[in-house]
């Protein structure tokens, strides 16, 4: 596997796809973006939020063996077993939260999911700021049933805040949007808010 040098933000490739989300294999072992990151795939872009990262044997039939019994450091394990990076792969799972239609961004599911082998890009600060200008996508996240989604939402908003020129104002705006989504579940709202502040 090679890193694409012309496109430093291109980090993975779709290997499994559904209407609500996709799985992509990262080009580099452990090369996944942070939990909650906004990624985009395809043209016109489909946006998604990374909600799960796994690293495991590529061949699910073969279990990974422990190899470090005689090694001094973890680094040495990798160094002395260069084949590891071919046997292992890092995958990200992402929830679709919106897509572009012409110049506009719609915070809803596209009519068809991204294609297999679609290139997955990590969004840069400008793209994040532009996308999170609207917060309706939070509805797709809060209603997702994936595990630990609240952590993902908090992580996503923390990251998004850094891309805005006034992070505090963004946090409050996002908090209020969340409060509207979770009006009837104060405990959950509270847990997420704790994660943002």
């Amino acid at each position: 596997m090679t890193t694409n040098n012309q496109e430093p933000n291109r980090i993975a490739e779709v290997v499994e796809t559904t209407t609500t989300g996709f799985t992509a294999q990262c080009y580099e072992l452990y090369g996944a973006p942070a939990l909650g990151s906004l990624v985009r795939v395809g043209d016109p872009a489909v946006y998604a939020v990374v909600h799960n990262v796994t690293t495991a044997a590529l061949d699910l039939g073969r279990r990974v063996m422990a190899r470090g019994a005689s090694e001094a450091t973890e680094e040495a394990v990798y160094h002395n077993n260069p084949q590891i990076s071919r046997l292992l792969a890092t995958h990200i799972e992402a929830l679709v939260v919106g897509h572009d239609v012409g110049d506009a961004t719609k915070y809803r599911l596209p009519s068809s999911p991204p294609r297999i082998h679609g290139f997955v890009y990590c969004c840069d600060a400008n793209e994040i700021a532009a996308f999170t200008d609207g917060l309706d996508y939070l509805h797709l996240l809060t209603s997702a049933s994936t595990p630990a989604i609240d952590e993902v939402i908090a992580a996503n908003l923390r990251l998004a805040a850094e891309s805005h020129s006034d992070p505090d104002a963004f946090r409050i705006r996002a908090g209020k949007a969340l409060a509207a989504e979770l009006a009837s579940d104060i405990a959950r709202l509270n847990a997420i808010l704790r994660g943002i502040s």
């Binding site: 409050i172 908090g175 209020k176 409060a179 509207a180 009006a183 104060i186 709202l189």
Partner: protein, 579 residues
């Protein structure tokens, strides 16, 4: 901070600060408005005005309830980690929010400023209609602008716009000024009288218990004197006085000294005093027997002149009245009336005629009681007696005139303080004041009652009071009394309870389109006189010919009345309220 983009724009169109969105409610209870997260309940007092922009109508209403609500009941029991200012800020206005209830009262024209009659609201705005604070323009639309018929009494609490009374509606019926002691009833009444006087819609007869309206009033609070009606309108106001001694010590003498003949006092005048003098009904009614016994016009003098127990016993026997009742009646009356200097055998002039002469000239009469104002029975006796006789004249005249040519005389408004004494349930049925209040304006005479204890007034009379101007009251019974029969009294009560203890009043009834809490305009500064006189001259400029008063030559130029010592050279730098 956070505005949801879509809510600021329609708000701007309406002028006032956007408040929120209609989410429910009813016409009788009012519509519920969920506040935007940037609108705080703390800035929206009960009684403030709200405009709601419906789909096809603009509703004008009053806030009658302010509530805190939460989307999740658990917020009450586990109030989140509100020590975190971030969490607190996020939750306020979202999960924890404010709502207000607005009762729509009027429909405004869709285009502000268009000259359409305001209609009462008979329905509510639809869901999600936008509510905003009423702008000054909205309020001006509702309460009108000062002109011949409209008198500016003040400004709504925390607004700049002016609240005007519809004087035509005001003078058509009996009205009341209520409030506990020291709330500004007299100042307010004086302003109302100035408004009526300038409008020339009605003549005034003021029973000025504490010498506040005629020549000068005192502003104990600021330790100064304020001008009375005579100083502002010398040509149109005649001051009558009862207390010769007191009236002598000031720059302008009263126009008429009033004397009352014993012969003028009728049993009815005594009946009115029954409660105040604590006379039993039997005793009071013996006046009628006395009148029969001694003769009309002679009975009181004769009765008071009786001396010694034997004479009274004998009389009691003659007229068949319980002896001890008559004896105590006799002693009460002698204690009260024998030493009143203005009660004389033969009055030097007929005060009623003098009064009628002034009223017929289109003038207004202030009867100053001087020291006798503190003597409530004396005040009542004189006020009742004069009113009874003047009312009779108006009644006769009205009957003959309306038969002759259908044209009616200038209406008369009679102003009384301590009104509950004349209008208590026991007395109101008999007293002339009670009759005037109940008959409405059949004979062109109405009352302006000024009272600090409205609960003492007969409810039937109270229900005839068309416009109520109510300063702070703290006795619940008094509040009940003024609110009886008023729709939406719940919100009005909280508005009333929230008034400051001075110079603020809730006005509701005929003369205003909807109830309004007003900061009463200032009275007593040079500026305040100027602004009042400016409207006066503006008005009279427009209608010189319509007056009957100008044939009385004016003793001094009206716009420059003589300044009394106390007020001379005093210029307050308080802001002028009305330009």
């Amino acid at each position: 901070m956070s505005t949801n983009g879509n809510q600021s724009d329609p708000g701007k169109l309406m002028g006032g600060t956007p408040l929120g969105t209609v989410v429910g409610g009813s016409l009788s209870e009012g519509v519920e408005v969920k506040l935007n997260d940037d609108a705080s309940v703390e800035d929206i007092p009960v009684g403030s005005y709200v405009v709601i922009q419906g789909e096809t109508k603009r509703f004008f209403g009053m806030v009658n309830e302010v509530k805190l609500a939460a989307t999740d009941a658990r917020l009450r029991t586990t109030p989140a980690n509100l020590t975190d200012p971030f969490v607190a800020e996020v939750l306020s206005g979202t999960a924890a929010y404010g709502t207000i209830t607005v009762r729509p009262r009027l429909l405004l024209p869709m285009i502000a400023g268009s000259d359409v009659e305001l209609a009462p609201a008979r329905t509510v705005p639809a869901h999600f209609a936008r509510a905003s604070k009423a702008s000054d323009a909205d309020v001006a639309q509702v309460f009108g602008v000062e002109d011949d018929r409209h008198f500016a009494v003040g400004t709504p609490l925390d607004m700049e716009a002016v609240v005007c009374l519809d004087l035509k509606a005001f003078v058509e019926r009996s009205n009341g000024v209520f409030g506990k002691s020291g709330t500004g009833k007299s100042f307010l009444t004086r302003l109302l009288l100035i408004g009526v006087l300038q409008s020339r819609l009605s003549s005034l007869l003021i029973f000025d218990m504490h010498d506040e309206y005629g020549w000068a009033g005192s502003d104990a609070e600021r330790g100064r004197q304020v001008k009375g009606l005579k100083q502002l309108f010398p040509a149109q106001v005649a001051v009558f006085a009862l207390d010769a001694e007191k009236s002598m010590g000031r720059p302008v003498k009263p126009d008429v000294m009033v004397e009352i003949g014993y012969g003028d006092i009728e049993p009815e005048d005594i009946m009115v005093l029954r409660e105040t003098l604590n006379i039993s009904e039997v005793a009071a009614e013996s006046s009628y027997s006395l009148e029969r016994h001694f003769g009309k016009g002679k009975w009181l003098k004769a009765f008071l002149e009786l001396e010694g127990r034997d004479a009274i016993f004998e009389l009691a026997n003659d007229i068949n009245i319980n002896t001890s009742a008559l004896a105590s009646f006799h002693s009460r009356l002698t204690n009260r009336f024998a030493r009143l200097p203005f009660l004389v055998e033969k009055p030097s002039q007929d005060s009623v005629q003098a009064l009628m002469d002034q009223l017929d000239k289109g003038n207004h009469v202030v009867l100053e009681f001087g020291r006798y104002g503190d003597d409530v029975p004396a005040y009542m006796l004189v006020a009742n007696l004069l009113t009874r006789r003047i009312y009779a004249r108006y009644r006769d005249r009205q009957m003959t005139e309306s038969v002759e040519n259908g044209k009616s005389t200038t209406p008369l408004s009679i102003v009384i303080e301590e009104a509950h004494r004349f209008l208590s349930p026991a007395v109101a049925s008999q007293s002339t004041f009670g009759i005037i209040a109940r008959e409405m304006r059949k004979y062109n005479v109405t009352l302006l009652v000024v009272d600090q204890r409205p609960s003492g007034i007969d409810p039937e009379v109270m229900s005839q009071i068309a416009t109520k101007v109510c300063c702070l009251l703290d006795d619940d019974r008094d509040v009940d009394a003024v609110m009886t029969g008023t729709s939406g009294s719940r919100e009005l009560r909280s508005v009333l309870a929230g008034l400051e203890s001075r110079q603020q009043a809730l006005i509701f009834g005929n003369a205003v389109p909807i109830p309004v809490a007003v900061r009463i305009r200032d009275y007593g500064t040079t500026d305040s006189y100027d602004s009042l006189m400016r409207t006066a001259s503006r008005r009279s400029a427009g209608k010189k010919t319509a007056t009957s008063i100008e044939d009385t030559p004016s003793p001094s130029d009206r716009s420059e009345p003589a300044e009394p010592q106390a007020a001379a050279g005093r210029k307050d730098d308080e802001d002028e309220l009305f330009g």
